[in-house]
Subunit: 334 residues, 2 copies
């Protein structure tokens, strides 16, 4: 059995969901891939638990859920004060996993790649601002830089564009990439005002306390930027046009309805041109998604139209992408 | 510029579409991947053209279109009488491409793998009957055995199941995998009898003169077998249940219509159980495809429901899958 050592940076909702999948399915992964995934360090904002032999994930999850922070873990395990940059340099591991929302994480992603480690991330800003450098460094070092979970959670649109369709020229991608805005727009169709719909989303935990990332289209914009980098060439978030859903009026919603259409926050990605904005979608379009589904329509020269549709949010759905990438990195590393 | 030498076996519709894409997009592939794809032999049933420096694909296409066979090509090029087995053993190449419908092709696929060559195929029976041996041999030799175009043409469901979703357990796949039957059923919905619809399909070149492969569900059955091999474990076509559309009556079509449903030839793939048969599909289901579209709904433990939908037939659509695999094999080989 080959062993892959993993540093898990971030132990919030996605980090815990990832640890939980690694814990529950470790036997399955060993049987199927011949790889034992050994998490040797876990970091949250309170500190880093580091055990070269591998951390008991069940206990880690229990400590975090009981006390809210890893630093509360005193028996058996040492808790260190390490920045992610320190973890990347000091902890012996083949794969570094970033499930934080650290906007400056690109710095320690780059450091990890320079150490010859593969990086798996669900964190979007590093890609939306530093795609070219990060991918370039990974190629130079012969390691992997993987980010399936950054777009459409585990629904494998990144893998689809990166490792498949190699003979096709992508011409355009149209996609609905943010589930929170879909929820709010759906509620508005049912008669709620924007403010009421947002409040309901926050109450249900679908929107964050500061909802601006979703509502202003920033999250969808990051994702659309990443899709452009994959399908065409590297750009940054600063080069795209984004308009969120905050100004969508009840009147616009109603007008769309009477035409048999529905408004969604749609990303349109063409070579050198990315726009994210509310758009009217025919009800029978694959983009007329509901709930936490995302969808993308990819047009290419050979294939014509290709649709991929699946979960775009959710904890185990996001962990699906992170874990798939960890296994991919692991299979390459061993 | 790295060079990948390719033996193209089969120069019918798909073979010519593949050559045509390789010809038209060679500069694009060189720029994008740093790989020059050099076709060093082309075989049809009349003979094999073999030129170690690389064949002029424009001329090859012209000869084939003008004379209907490669053996008519006398100036400049030698035409050899070689079986595919001979080609595999004698021609120096890194990649063997099978775009024939030779049911016994698994024998020379295996020979190619044993020669250390990667194999790219759009030919289904080798996989539907010999998946385990072929994949096993490829793994043993450290070469690739690629078959994107066998299921849903170039729509990358094979890549999706093989190289992505590595952390997920697939629970089931439901799919519409044959476009000819979709055409016939659609025509029946418009009032034609089965015989009339079939005749129309044949007239338009959608169904073959001997339509049994499509109509009896064999083609869809091969594809469903391959999906089972990918998602679960290797089986053969003999182990699955197949019922075609020949017995679908106009009454059944009408009854479905009045319920807001439509009949399609549906493959249901679960662990150890594959069934292909006509089934009523709600009109709003992703499986209610039209025209040459195929669709699959994949259910997994982590992601939930994932839909992939795209071209399932067509020449350049099939070439898309073949060429993507040639590039993939080329990137590995060089």
């Amino acid at each position: 059995m080959k062993e892959v050592r993993v540093s898990l940076v971030g132990f919030g909702n996605v980090g815990r969901a990832t640890a939980s999948v690694l814990l529950k399915k470790s036997r399955f992964f060993e049987d199927r891939y011949g790889v034992k995934i050994n998490v040797v360090s876990i970091s949250d904002t309170s500190g880093t638990v580091w055990l070269p032999e591998g951390i008991d994930l069940m206990e880690a999850l229990l400590v975090k859920e009981t006390f809210g922070k890893l630093s509360a873990w005193t028996n058996d395990y040492e808790v260190y004060e390490l920045t992610p940059g320190d973890v990347v340099r000091e902890v012996d591991a083949e794969v570094v996993v970033d499930v934080t929302n650290d906007k400056e994480a690109w710095k320690w992603h780059l450091a990890a790649l320079k150490e010859g480690k593969s990086v798996v991330t669900s964190n979007k800003p590093p890609l939306a601002y530093h795609y070219r450098e990060l991918i370039g460094e990974a190629e130079k070092r012969g390691v992997l830089y993987l980010f399936e979970a950054t777009v459409m959670a585990g629904t494998p649109i990144v893998g689809l564009l990166r490792e498949n369709l190699l003979g096709d020229d992508v011409q355009s991608i149209e996609a609905v990439l943010n589930a929170t805005t879909t929820f709010i727009l759906t509620q508005m169709e049912r008669g709620l005002s924007f403010e009421e719909a947002l409040a309901k989303a926050q109450k249900l935990g679908i929107a964050e306390r500061d909802p601006s990332g979703d509502v202003l289209g920033i999250d969808a914009g990051y994702k659309a930027t990443i899709l452009h980098c994959l399908a065409f060439h590297p750009i940054t978030y600063d080069e795209i046009r984004v308009r969120g859903i905050a100004e969508v009026t009840e009147g616009e919603i109603e007008r769309a309805k009477t035409k048999g259409k529905t408004i969604r926050l749609v990303a349109r990605v063409e070579k050198g041109r990315v726009a994210v904005e509310p758009a009217e979608i025919p009800r029978e379009s694959p983009l007329a998604v509901e709930s936490h589904e995302n969808a993308a329509v990819i047009r290419t020269d050979l294939l014509g139209e290709l649709v991929i549709k699946g979960a775009g949010a959710g904890l185990k759905e996001t962990a699906s992408g992170v874990v798939s990438d960890i296994i991919k990195a692991g299979l390459r590393a061993v």
